[in-house]
């Protein structure tokens, strides 16, 4: 019964974050993947920490303050780095939830280990500290890491720099927690108060940002696609810019650029429509021709190459979010 305190709070917190995701950005299968990865990361950390103690003779206190935070946060972050690289994360909200899920898996496995080894010594107080304090800390640090990473990338920072800053923040917070400068119960109370508030503010900011992005991008993309479909694109500034590229590109490549832009707009508008549908509880629409259009889009992207993409920068940039958008349709 006591053990429930060690497991339930972090799971409930994760469920709450999932429910707060109003645009349903998080994919349940990826959430489960993050949870399972978190569990696996606990095993890897255990073996690494044991190896460090045995091979260096470092004290448990030093290990928990300096070595474990670095190793554990690094291992936890790997799956987040993978999801971002695979364009499966688009906003701070989904980044935070996936991050928290990794930490949840980690904490569940770690608390199971404690419960298993301590048996009857796993007191109610320890369960509360581990369940509300350590477990939420594990989720919180990885949420922060993921938020820093995605926010950095959205602000055009190099991914490695954004990832490094995120990871460093997670490691520092973890190390700070493990120093126990405050009474453990007091520290747990602080986490219970600060973490939900901080994540709530992040969610509010991210949702506002998403709504603004939808508002601006949806309207401009619909306008541009409408002009293309009506054959009036050449009369627009964007059309004139595209026409000006004929001095630099062969006619067939120019045609590919035009098709690439048109197809991107079409697919991007459909993703945004689906986001709006999900936000309001409607099932998403996946037109039967979407898979073939995605295939065509990928082919065109190859054909125009980096030079073509750079030439289109003033009209559309294939950054993290644009590629994430297309992934939404693919999945």
């Amino acid at each position: 019964m006591v053990a429930i305190f060690g497991f339930v709070p972090v799971l409930l917190f994760l469920a709450l974050l999932f429910l707060l995701d109003s645009f349903k950005l998080v994919k349940p299968r990826l959430l489960v993947l993050c949870l399972l990865y978190g569990i696996a990361a606990t095993g890897l950390s255990y073996f690494f920490n044991t190896w460090v103690i045995l091979s260096t003779g470092i004290s448990f206190e030093s290990l928990s303050r300096y070595v474990a935070p670095i190793a554990e946060e690094f291992l936890k972050a790997l799956v987040i780095f993978y999801l971002v690289a695979a364009r499966q994360v688009g906003f701070m909200v989904d980044a935070a939830i996936y991050g928290f899920a990794v930490g949840t898996g980690f904490a569940l496995a770690e608390n199971t280990w404690y419960y298993w080894n301590l048996g009857t010594d796993f007191s109610a107080l320890l369960a509360i500290i581990r369940g509300f304090g350590t477990a939420l800390m594990h989720g919180g640090t990885m949420s922060i890491c993921a938020i820093f990473l995605i926010e950095g990338i959205q602000r055009s920072s190099p991914a490695w720099r954004a990832g490094f800053i995120g990871l460093l923040a997670a490691m520092l917070l973890h190390s700070l927690f493990n120093h126990f400068w405050l009474n453990p119960l007091m520290q747990t109370m602080l986490i219970i108060v600060i973490l939900p508030l901080a994540l709530y503010l992040v969610f509010m900011r991210s949702t506002r940002h998403l709504q603004q992005w939808l508002e601006v991008a949806f309207s401009s993309e619909v306008d541009m696609l409408r002009m293309i479909k009506q054959g009036q694109f050449r009369n627009t500034r964007a059309g004139q810019y595209l026409a000006s590229l004929k001095e630099h590109f062969a006619p067939d490549v120019l045609l590919d650029l035009y098709c690439f832009l048109s197809l991107y707009l079409e697919l991007s508008i459909k993703t945004k429509r689906n986001l709006m549908l999900k936000e309001n509880g409607f099932p998403v629409i996946l037109e039967s021709d979407i898979p073939s259009k995605l295939t065509e889009f990928k082919q065109l992207r190859k054909q125009i190459g980096k030079a073509g993409e750079m030439a289109l920068y003033p009209l559309v940039r294939m950054r993290q979010r644009e590629l994430w958008e297309l992934n939404q349709l693919e999945n």
Binding site: S219, R226, L277, N280, I285
Partner: protein, 111 residues
Amino acid sequence: MNIVTIQNGDFLVIKLQGRLDTAQSSIVEKMFLEILDHGHERIILDCEDLDYISSSGLRIFLIAQKKILGVSGTLRICNLQPNIREIFDISGFSMIFSISHDLVAALNPDL
């Protein structure tokens, strides 16, 4: 943005006039919710004088649709100007809503 409501048979016809953009969407959303709170379950949105709609406006339509479906009511849209109709078609929202050519067709879809 002007909003005029007229009871026409079983339907409450809401005439939207002007631009439905970010600035106006919260006002229109509030108005929709008030109308639904008053028990109106059969609604026609007459967009004859709607000049512009942004994604915020479309989201208001979705909110209204969801609320009305929740009480097994009916929401129809009519008189969309060609440029607005195109937005619905391009984005695929035409598949979500019941859109009629004009008010008569919206009132009598079987005709």
